[in-house]
Symmetry: C3
Subunit: 314 residues, 3 copies
């Protein structure tokens, strides 16, 4: 069976459904329990983890760092590998990875500034590589925590109607989540974005192949009344690379009207950070109990603890 | 009684005198003893502390970090949250704080780049916030260590004549120390600065309300012969925001003349860093035994160890 | 005997040969053994180490950090002391070092951005200073690991023919290694560089005084067939300070021709990073078994573990 023993964590497609439901989620539940009573077994004692971050991060970096530390690992972090590592002297990513391999580390968590960076890293690494976001590529641990958040709320994923809202084209988290949802049954996906930000063909093909029903609509009001889950995301300004696209976020922003349309038992997620410019999830709505964005963050800690344990222990 | 259980550490005014003298200082003495024999009890085992620094720091960051580590805590640090965290993507401080709350941390030490940043952080935090300096606002742990340094030298604070020298207007440490001294009796405060850098009215009002005698003078020579404690500070260039004020530091710089005026048993403190431009405490005088600036640094370690223990243990 | 007890590690000249062979290398072998079976004794439990890096680094920083952590030490790191420490406020290096001394740390590992930085640091430090590279000055722990790599391969250093190739003028690692090799017997040194990048007179004088035979040649092909060890290095662009020197690396770059000239039992080292511009050690040759550049990195970990233990334990 695939994934019984993880080697690297590179993209959402690599996980199969039974591993997610039977192995990963129960392990994350276990982590939650241990953290809640402040009795955490040092599963990663004598392990060293290196966090290489080539792009800014708060959530992902701090959650991997605390996840590792809570499990007893030694954690070395470079906050901005792009400027303060040998990358500035022209070192290739491959040499950096070979170096970290030689320095006694047991795993590398990498946020790359180029799509495919984590996969390139894995190509020369004898120790596990965990993709913590590779530019416009993927962010598989984020999509696993999003899925875990949905799963915990509904007790299942099959049969849900899920809206991916906002910049579907460039959001690595929307892309990664779409891949993951392809593993489940009777899902309806609403892809909510103006044309310029619609999902790329590679994902649409994947959804077709996996018989996932999807519907592309420009405005959240078109589907809000019929959605179980609304996944918001910010406009990925740093991915636009100077394209002159005018977009004020209308149609993909949470409003009072949409909140009134959304079912009582629905949930609203956001991978964070939310942006003040774009204002897709206004601060004033933060306390609506359907908005579970900081539950997601917490779930992220447990998922990453679980992944680190699964990848680093026999 | 106030402060029997600390929730947050935000400003100097929050502490009452008896807590400082009966709880905090004895705890700091205890830390000193443990460190001196290298037998430090792991009071913070199983606690995670997050250091969020939005402005440069050596002393404060390293002292909180080593204080936490020596007490057995896990410590995650962001050296420059302004550039390398999600702040660059437009995330609000509140969301960052809510995130760190959700990631299993037990306390946040924050150096904010805006006045009031720590208080804003506390407004949404379920875990303790420790203000490690908020721009031109306050720096309460610094003023506590300054007070502790004075207290250890004289065995008391009441009745002392204390000169706050230099940029009283913008120095958060002078401001915080003035607030703290307001808790004590028969203090005489010399506020030594040219007009443009004199203490702001909020502090003067506070001193009046607390019946602290103060005298505003332009030059240290006016009061040096009569001072028990001289607190120097550098010109806060980064606070001037391009104001075109010409000030070469004359009158508020330590000189051989002032050293000869100062009483034998006086002490000279400086929150550091001292600046080479301004040269308020010339390197050549460093070994004068009244200059106890690195004793202050050491005391800062013990005070921060004590505060972390008091805030994080039952 | 010199070096029986280390105080600081500042320059390669300070070590004597018998200490290197009888104390340091066996200790490094011991570390290798412990790491290989994942049973590392916590020799540095209760020790705090501060890593102050004023210039970018991956290898050296991560190897000191993991070396310290694996031995049980607490390690505090500043990735970019130049921008995010009090250095930006004009603090002198001496005050920073005095501060770290006062904060309960037991050793400082410093990468300075000025030649002589580590020695200046040691002049005011009561705790050990370890030079992790001081601009165009020295990098003694690198040269010790280079020597250890040579020693492990040949079982000796005496009598070897060693080519130092590339920017001999500015490479602190070539300079440091030349100093170290001066301790051994019957060494032949080939200094392979165009005139503008030849070794400076201070090193040549040292080699003369220590009766080391050396030969200055412009091209590696002149000596490749006769070399036991080839030490490559990149062009230190950041040391040129805008000098308008045109140099494309021809003559000091590894080529297929040179690989065919080099003896079967020779080794090729590189302190890394290798540069893509200069291309002195092309990626395509990485798997030639004489190229042991990542063995060097691994040896660096063991040497630094050994040094930390020797300098911090009785």
């Amino acid at each position: 069976m695939a994934n019984t023993k993880l080697k690297h964590i590179l993209e959402s497609q690599q996980f199969d459904r039974s591993w997610i439901e039977k192995i990963l989620f129960p392990e994350a539940d276990q982590m939650r329990k241990m953290v809640s009573v402040a009795k955490i077994k040092p599963y990663l004692k004598d392990k060293s983890i290196c966090l290489l971050f080539y792009e800014p991060s708060t959530r992902t970096r701090l959650s991997f760092q605390n996840a590792g530390l809570m499990l007893g690992a030694r954690v070395a972090v470079t906050e901005n590998a792009k400027e303060f590592s040998s990358a500035v002297k022209g070192e290739s990513l491959k040499d950096t990875i070979r170096t970290v391999n030689a320095l006694g580390f047991n795993a590398i968590v990498i946020r790359s500034d180029v799509e495919g960076g984590a996969t390139e890293a894995a190509s020369v690494s004898n120790i596990p590589i965990i993709n913590a976001g590779d530019a416009a590529g993927q962010h598989p641990t984020q999509s696993l925590l999003d899925l875990y958040t949905i799963y915990r709320h509904f007790g299942k994923v099959d049969g849900l109607k899920i809206a991916l809202v906002g910049d579907c084209k460039n959001s690595r988290t929307h892309r990664s989540l779409a891949y993951l949802l392809g593993k489940f049954k009777k899902i309806t996906l609403f892809l909510v974005a103006p044309k310029e930000f619609q999902m790329r063909p590679d994902i649409l093909d994947y959804l077709d192949r996996h018989k996932i029903l999807y519907k592309q609509v420009p405005k959240l009001t078109d589907v809000a009344g019929n959605s179980d889950v609304v996944c918001l995301t910010r406009l990925q300004k740093e991915r636009l690379n100077g394209q002159n696209i005018k977009f004020d976020g209308s149609g993909v922003r949470l409003t009072r009207e949409i909140l009134s349309q959304l079912p009582k038992n629905s949930i609203i997620t956001h991978v964070l950070p939310r942006s003040n410019d774009f204002n897709e999830l206004p601060e004033e709505f933060t306390n609506d109990r359907r908005i579970i964005i900081f539950k997601q963050v917490e779930n992220g800690l447990f998922i990453r603890m679980a992944l680190l344990k699964l990848i680093l222990t026999p």
